[in-house]
Each structure stands twice: as structure tokens, then as C-alpha cells.
């Protein structure tokens, strides 16, 4: 397959849109219940874990973009092929394709689970999966610009959601955050590690990068997007830590949804039912961009039209959904995914950056000789 991408002018996007892409890709199903996972390790210092994980994410994104800048018109798949040659490169591509489709599956299954538990216990997972996949297929066929548009509107349509999360604050107890730094640093880092499942999503920059018009502004908007997510996660974490007591938080799977459920307006109660349904527009960019990321990798190896690809891909995903049934299975898969995701998103970019550096200096030496 061809090594560099040829992208038509009409497919390029402006750099500021990266803010929405990064933000939309990060916020997904993890936010429903990340508090418990982190609290288990870091206790009342969980919010520090959130900050640490984001500091690390900022660093990794910086490295990622540095790597991408060495190959201005190529995505990660192309870099693999250039750095490692075709054979080994394709092996790495396969891993990344697997990662993207795994992420797709995890997001989809978790959302279906939430709907089944909170709203429609009797609605079959097959129907929910199929309906969501139909939407994804419809969006996917619109091309990259439509996918970015969904990211944008996902952000706009859910702007009001964080603001109502401040309502539970009237029941919160600030003293629950004390004593500060009571836990061992190792536990706090462990908590940061537990953030992996919630924080990943920004690695989409690996694939989006060649589609950005102003390459010099990429760093700025990606970091801005990350920072916006940090603010959201941090505020939710602080509200949860002060609202729930420790043992309560350890038993709550979906702490954010529980926060929603106590919000009351004169004309509406049980806001979580509305927000869970609204969450469809939040996970839609996740699904679409992960599917798209898989597609970018697949077309490097197999000559397949995007329409055919998305139908095959969706069918495969639907079959996988049918196999995962119980909550413990989902937990297990989430666990595997977060370990796998940590390696792919947080460790691997350092490796590929080093490899690219070595290759470049090697090439330079060759040229001077």
C-alpha cells in the first residue's frame, strides 16, 4: 500500500477543532464511574491522582506530536511502516488496529450495560447495539468532516451537563478531603494508573494529525483539549469525594450517575435518566473516531472501500457484544483494556519516539556520508 497519505483539501480541518476532537474522544463511558477505581488506591487524595495522570498525559501528548512532526503528512500507521519497514510495521499496525477496535467494543458494551441497568432492564443488548451501530454507520459514511462535526456538537450539546453537577455540592462535606497527602505516594500513583481507562482517547491525535491544516497550532489545541477534560474530571472527582463517604464510594459503580440522580427541579426529577440517554451523543464521537482509526489502519493493508469496511466492522462488533453478558465479564474486559491501553497510549509512544529519532539520525549520517 502507499506510504504517505494523499488528503484532498476539502478533507482538512482547522486546528481549533482539535480541541473538540480530543475532548470528545476522552469523555466517554469512563466518566460514569471512575471515582471508585481511583478511590480504591488513593483514598481521599484521589483528586491528586487525577492531576498526576493528566500531567503525564500532557507529557505523552507532547512526545506523540513531536513524533508526528517528523513525518508531517503521515499518521501512526504510516510511521510504523516507514520506521520499521513493511513487515514489522504492519505487525505494529495490527496491534494498533486491535487496540482501536477493542476501545470501540469497550465503549459500546459499557454504554449498553448502563442503559440496561438504569433505564431499560428488558431491552435486549442486540437491539441497543444494532441501533447504535446503525447511527455509527450512517455517520461514518459521511466522511471525516462529519465525524469531526459530531465531536463539535457533542461538546456543544452537553455543555450544560457539568453545571448541574454543582447542585449536589450543597450536601458535600469539604472536610472529607482532609487530611491531605495522607496516603503513600505509591498509592496515589497507583490511583493515577487506574485513571487510564478514563483518560485515554487523546491518542486519536496519532491518526488525525495529517488532516490538520495548521500543523504549528496542533500542540496548543491538543493541550487545551486535555486541560478542559482535566477540569471536568477534577471537578467531578472533588464533588464525588466530598459528597460520598469513603465506604459509600467504594461500593458505587457509577458514582457520577448517582450524583445526577439526586438532582431535582420543579418540573423534572431523576435527571440521570435524561443524561444517560443524552450520553449517546457523548459516546458517538468515541465510537465514530475509533471506528475511523481502525479503518485508517485496515486500508493500509487491505484494499477495501470504507462502506464495506464499516459494515463488516459493525457486524463483527455486534457478534462480540452478544458474547459479553455478565457484569463481571465487563469488569474483566475493562480491566484488560485499561492495562493494554496503558501500554499502547502511555508507554508505546516513548518507544516509537526513540525509534524515530534513531532512524532519523541514522538517515542523516547516511546522507552526510
Amino acid at each position: 500500500m502507499k506510504k504517505t497519505l494523499s488528503i484532498s483539501e476539502s478533507e482538512l480541518i482547522n486546528a481549533p477543532l482539535l480541541f473538540f476532537i480530543i475532548n470528545a474522544c476522552q469523555i466517554g463511558v469512563g466518566i460514569h464511574g471512575f471515582q471508585r477505581l481511583i478511590y480504591q488506591d488513593a483514598k481521599q487524595d484521589a483528586w491528586i491522582s487525577v492531576i498526576i495522570s493528566f500531567i503525564f498525559a500532557h507529557f505523552i501528548v507532547f512526545i506523540m506530536i513531536k513524533t508526528l512532526e517528523m513525518f508531517p503528512s503521515n499518521d501512526l500507521y504510516g510511521i510504523h511502516q516507514e520506521v520499521f519497514g513493511k513487515f514489522i510495521g504492519n505487525f505494529f499496525n495490527l496491534i494498533y488496529i486491535f487496540y482501536s477496535s477493542f476501545a470501540f467494543l469497550v465503549v459500546l458494551k459499557n454504554y449498553i450495560e448502563v442503559i440496561n441497568v438504569w433505564i431499560f432492564p428488558n431491552l435486549s443488548a442486540t437491539f441497543l447495539g444494532a441501533s447504535l451501530l446503525m447511527i455509527v454507520i450512517y455517520a461514518f459514511n459521511g466522511g471525516f468532516r462529519v465525524l469531526v462535526g459530531i465531536c463539535f456538537f457533542s461538546f456543544i450539546c452537553t455543555l450544560w451537563v457539568p453545571s448541574i453537577l454543582f447542585i449536589p455540592m450543597e450536601y458535600s462535606e469539604i472536610s472529607q478531603l482532609l487530611p491531605l497527602f495522607d496516603n503513600h505516594l505509591k498509592d496515589i500513583i497507583k490511583g493515577a494508573y487506574a485513571m487510564t481507562f478514563t483518560i485515554i482517547g487523546f491518542e486519536i491525535i496519532n491518526i488525525v494529525y495529517p488532516y490538520v491544516k495548521e500543523k504549528n497550532k496542533v500542540q496548543r489545541y491538543v493541550h487545551l483539549g486535555l486541560f478542559a477534560t482535566l477540569l471536568l474530571y477534577l471537578s467531578i472527582m472533588l464533588i464525588s469525594l466530598t459528597y460520598f463517604s469513603g465506604p459509600q464510594l467504594e461500593k458505587t459503580i457509577w458514582a457520577t450517575l448517582n450524583l445526577f440522580s439526586i438532582i431535582k427541579f420543579p418540573f423534572i426529577e431523576r435527571v440521570e435518566i435524561i443524561t444517560i440517554c443524552l450520553w449517546m451523543i457523548i459516546i458517538l464521537p468515541n465510537l465514530c473516531l475509533f471506528a475511523w482509526s481502525t479503518h485508517r489502519g485496515v486500508i493500509r493493508m487491505v484494499n477495501i472501500s470504507s462502506k464495506k469496511f464499516i459494515w463488516i466492522f459493525s457486524t463483527v462488533m455486534l457478534i462480540f457484544i452478544l458474547f459479553i453478558k455478565s457484569r463481571s465479564q465487563i469488569n474483566h474486559i475493562n480491566n484488560i483494556f485499561s492495562h493494554f491501553g496503558f501500554v499502547v497510549v502511555f508507554v508505546y509512544p516513548l518507544f516509537i519516539y526513540l525509534m524515530a529519532l534513531i532512524r532519523n539520525s541514522f538517515l542523516k549520517r547516511k546522507r552526510t556520508n
Binding site: 431491552l123 456538537f153 435518566i273
Partner: protein, 521 residues
């Protein structure tokens, strides 16, 4: 999928151009008359007169101005035998006189208001154009009425409509390109734009799409609008049909392309974005806080109109827990005797409202009022008393219908009302989840649309901050860049980059409503 089907129905093969056989003009008088009658099947309104021994004139009764015929043509004839077409042409004192030597061409001209003058012995015909346009007088636009602003609407004559536009825009850069469309009707179509403001790309697209059309007839501009749409399978209109010359000129001045079809009282403006369908010309005439409030009201109305009934259906079918207790009591009381599930109830009432609207639109105005009474009072009250529907649903449905009529554009208002039905069905089956599915589908559909290749959801996506002051709100005029970035030409962009004389430019290009009114006076 639709595109594939369309391609099957309309095979895109190259069709031969319309080339009528060429018939030379017979030099002899009688031959000429016979030939003429043969070609146009001697209709009853064909007038043939012998002015002198040599000269014959022919025209269609009613298509020409008889006054002009008397003064400018008949009075100029001299009874000499050495008259030739070229001398005659010089003597006739009307703007458009031509000499043709081909019959079909002559008859084409005669059918749009020319007099044929044939001189015995010459194989040529002198054509003098003195068309008379039968037309309605200018009236206030009925479908797009507004309180403040000019009260004049287009009528069915192409020439009058173009004159109206020229009154608003007295600018040599206003270009007018003429096309003839429809094999049978040969309808005149004018494409208008302002050179220097318009994006040439859009003009080329319109030109190309009109040239590519291969149609039999063209009776109204709405048909042309659908034919040149980017995606004719979408429910959303992508071009504006307006009967207001001020709205039309507004479009031209913001760098859009306008199309006027002879015989139609509606002009087409394209490209047009989704948001602009919910703006009215009047918004520019009102003070900005009021205009902004009205615009926000309209957008709230769209949301109410599309989602209110589905939310009712979903809440009462699946999500009782969302409704607070004090509100649940009256709701369940009013629904207590209704035997149907909410979805049937809602669909029934929505259909009744649609029936009322359609009946009101078709009936004469005087009877229309009766329909309102019959529908509103008789059916409404009776339905509640009979226990078919609940009181609260009637309020919700009526509110939704009312809200949909606030959309300033009739075409878009229809869409807003119709897309409610599938959403109600989805809400009835899958509650809020179904509504959300519909919302996502709608959003993606809108994202996919384009108008002449320009994004349909502009200025929101792709985000164009410069156009936001004139979007769902209207900020004071100095904040509004007159030409949306979407439809600016290169020249304009370069100018704004230089940022020279920006203020002056704004004042010049910003024709305030007062100025416009002066122009039309």
C-alpha cells in the same frame, strides 16, 4: 442508496441537444404564409395582415403591444416597391429589430412577442420586438408578511422582478445571465449575482447545474430549486424560495446567487444554510435586543415543536419517575379515562392538527375561519370529553403546531412539523433512548448536507466565529460582518486581511433599511 436509485431512474446518458430543422424563409408572399401556418399549426390567435401589396405582417394576438405596433411600425411603412429588409429595419424606431432568414428562429421570437414583417421577394424577415407583458400588479407578499419593512412582493413577470431588484441595487456589478429551460415550455430563467461580492465558485456551480438540466417543462421556480439542490432526497430544503425582493437582494448582497424564473413569483437564493431559514428579513429592521429575543424564541420554538410531544409520549410510556409527584397527579388524572397508550393518542392528535392545517390551506379564506372553530373547539373539546385524548396532550400538541408556524420559511416549517412523526413513534417504542436516536440521526443528517457545496450547518460547523453575531442572535449592526465568510470572494478576503478602510467599507456595504426604503421610493 437514494442516489443509486435515482441514477437508475434517470440514466445519466448524454442526450443530443435540441436542434430543430432549419427552414429558410420563402421569398414569395404566399409561400411564406403557408409555411408559417404549417409550422405553428395555424392557431386562432395568429394574425396575418397585408399592409401593402408587398408587405405582410404576422404576430400572435395578445403577445404584442398594439399601440406600439401602430405608432412605431405601421406608421413607418412607405408604399414603395424597392423596400428591402435592411432599409425597413433602419426605419422602424423600436429598440430591438432584427433580420432573420430562418423560419423556426422567427417563430420562436414571435412566440415571445415579436412582429414578423415579410417583404415579397426577399428571403428574409424583419423581426420587431414589442412584447406586452400581462401581469398582476405588485402586491404585498402574503406568505412572508412582516410588520416593519418594505411591503412589496415579486409577481409572475421576470422583467418586473428584475426591475424590482435593480431598484434595490443600482450597481453596475449586478450581473444577469439568461438561460432558457424546458424543451416544451422554453421558460426564461435569470441568474443574478453581484460581481465582486459573490464567490465565483458558486456562480459556476449554478451555471453548470442549470446547463446540465434536461427537462421537458419548468412551470415554477420551486421545481428548479429542487432540481439544482445538492441532495434532492433530503427532507430539508437547501435553497431559499422567497417572494420578497428585499430578502432576495439581501441574499445577493451577502454574496449569494439568485435565480428568477419567468412565470413564478418566487425567487431562488442559494447557497443557503440551515440557520438562515430561521432568520427573517425583519430581524435586521428591528432593534437588536428585540430581534435577538425573537430569534431565540424561534429556536426555542423549533425544539418545542420537534421534541415536546415525543417527550410527553416517552415520559408517560416509560419514564414516570422523571415527572415530579405534584405534576404526576394532574397528568394521570387527565389520562385516567383514555383507553389508548400515549403513542396512539399523540399520533391521533398530531394527525388531526395536520388535517386542520391542510384543510385550512386549501379552503377559501372565509371558510377557513370556520375550520378553525370546528377544529379547535368542536374536535378538541369533544375529544377530551369522549375520553379519546387527555387535556394536557391537547395543550402540548397545539403548542407544538403553533411553534412550528413561527419558522419564517414555509418550506422549513413543513419539515419541522413532519419530522415529529417518526420521533413520536421512536419515543413510543424506546422512550428517551428512541428520541436520542432520532436526534443523533437528525444531527448527522444535517452535518452531511451541503448547499452548493457549502456546509449546511455553517456558521456553527465548521465554526466561523465571524458570522456568529448574526446567527441565533442578532448583535448591533457594526458587529455584523456583512458578508458571511461562507460566501465571500477572494477579493473580499484579501481586503479584510489588509484591514484598510474597514470602517468605511462597512458603511458602504451596509445598506441600512432606511436607505433601502429610500431607494424603492
Amino acid at each position: 442508496m437514494f442516489k443509486k436509485i435515482q441514477q437508475k431512474i434517470l440514466p445519466n446518458e448524454e442526450k443530443p441537444e435540441y436542434n430543430p430543422p432549419k427552414i429558410p424563409v420563402p421569398p414569395l408572399k404566399n409561400d411564406f404564409i403557408n409555411e408559417l401556418k404549417k409550422i405553428i399549426h395555424s392557431p386562432a390567435d395568429l394574425v396575418i395582415r397585408f399592409v401593402t401589396n408587398n408587405i405582410t405582417i404576422a404576430f400572435i394576438d395578445g403577445l404584442i403591444e398594439t399601440q406600439s405596433l401602430d405608432d412605431n411600425i405601421l406608421a413607418r411603412f412607405e408604399d414603395t416597391s424597392d423596400e428591402t429588409p435592411s432599409t425597413l429595419r433602419e426605419r422602424i424606431s423600436i429598440p430591438e429589430v432584427n433580420v432573420f432568414d430562418e423560419m423556426i428562429q422567427c417563430i420562436d421570437e414571435m412566440l415571445i412577442g415579436a412582429v414578423l414583417i415579410h417583404i415579397n421577394g426577399h428571403p428574409q424577415v424583419v423581426l420587431a420586438k414589442i412584447p406586452s407583458y400581462e401581469k398582476r400588479s405588485l402586491e404585498a407578499p402574503e406568505n412572508e408578511s412582516q410588520v416593519i419593512g418594505t411591503q412589496v412582493g415579486f409577481n409572475e413577470s421576470l422583467n418586473t422582478n428584475i426591475t424590482l431588484i435593480r431598484r434595490f441595487i443600482t450597481n453596475p456589478n449586478l450581473c444577469n445571465e439568461h438561460f432558457t429551460l424546458g424543451k416544451e415550455t422554453r421558460t426564461s430563467v435569470s441568474v443574478l449575482y453581484i460581481h465582486g461580492i459573490v464567490d465565483e465558485k458558486h456562480v459556476n456551480t449554478v451555471r453548470q447545474r442549470i446547463k446540465d438540466l434536461d427537462i421537458v417543462d419548468l412551470i415554477d421556480s420551486a421545481i428548479l430549486a429542487e432540481l439544482i439542490d445538492d441532495s434532492s432526497s433530503s427532507i430539508f430544503p437547501q435553497t431559499l424560495l422567497t417572494e420578497r425582493p428585499d430578502r432576495f437582494c439581501d441574499g445577493l448582497l451577502t454574496g449569494k446567487v439568485g435565480i428568477i424564473v419567468n412565470g413564478s413569483s418566487m425567487g431562488i437564493i442559494c447557497p443557503f444554510s440551515f440557520l438562515e431559514f430561521f432568520q427573517s428579513r425583519e430581524d435586521q429592521n428591528l432593534r437588536w435586543p428585540i430581534a435577538s429575543f425573537i430569534r431565540l424564541l424561534r429556536f426555542a420554538a423549533i425544539i418545542v415543536s420537534i421534541f415536546f410531544t415525543p417527550i410527553y409520549v416517552a415520559s408517560l410510556t416509560f419514564h414516570y419517575e422523571v415527572i415530579p409527584q405534584p405534576m404526576l397527579v394532574p397528568l394521570s388524572e387527565s389520562r385516567a379515562i383514555v383507553p389508548f397508550p400515549p403513542i396512539i393518542e399523540a399520533l391521533f392528535l398530531e394527525l388531526v392538527i395536520e388535517l386542520l392545517r391542510e384543510a385550512g390551506a386549501r379552503l377559501p379564506t372565509k371558510v377557513g375561519q370556520t375550520i378553525g372553530i370546528v377544529g379547535g373547539i368542536v374536535i378538541g373539546t369533544a375529544a377530551v370529553q369522549a375520553g379519546i385524548t387527555s387535556n394536557i396532550l391537547i395543550i402540548i400538541v397545539a403548542l407544538g403546531a403553533l411553534a412550528s408556524f413561527t419558522t419564517p420559511n414555509y418550506m422549513m416549517g413543513n419539515v419541522i412539523r413532519i419530522i415529529r412523526f417518526p420521533i413520536i413513534v421512536l419515543a413510543g417504542f424506546w422512550g428517551y433512548y428512541g428520541i436520542m436516536l432520532a436526534f443523533c440521526f437528525l444531527l448527522i443528517h444535517l452535518l452531511k448536507q451541503s448547499s452548493l457545496g457549502a456546509p449546511y450547518l455553517a456558521p456553527f460547523y465548521p465554526p466561523r466565529l465571524k458570522d456568529w453575531p448574526d446567527s441565533i442572535v442578532r448583535l448591533p449592526l457594526p458587529f455584523i460582518s456583512r458578508h458571511s465568510v461562507n460566501s465571500r470572494s477572494r477579493k473580499e478576503i484579501e481586503k479584510s486581511k489588509k484591514k484598510k478602510n474597514t470602517k468605511k467599507q462597512r458603511q458602504n456595504s451596509n445598506l441600512t433599511p432606511e436607505n433601502k426604503e429610500k431607494v424603492i421610493e
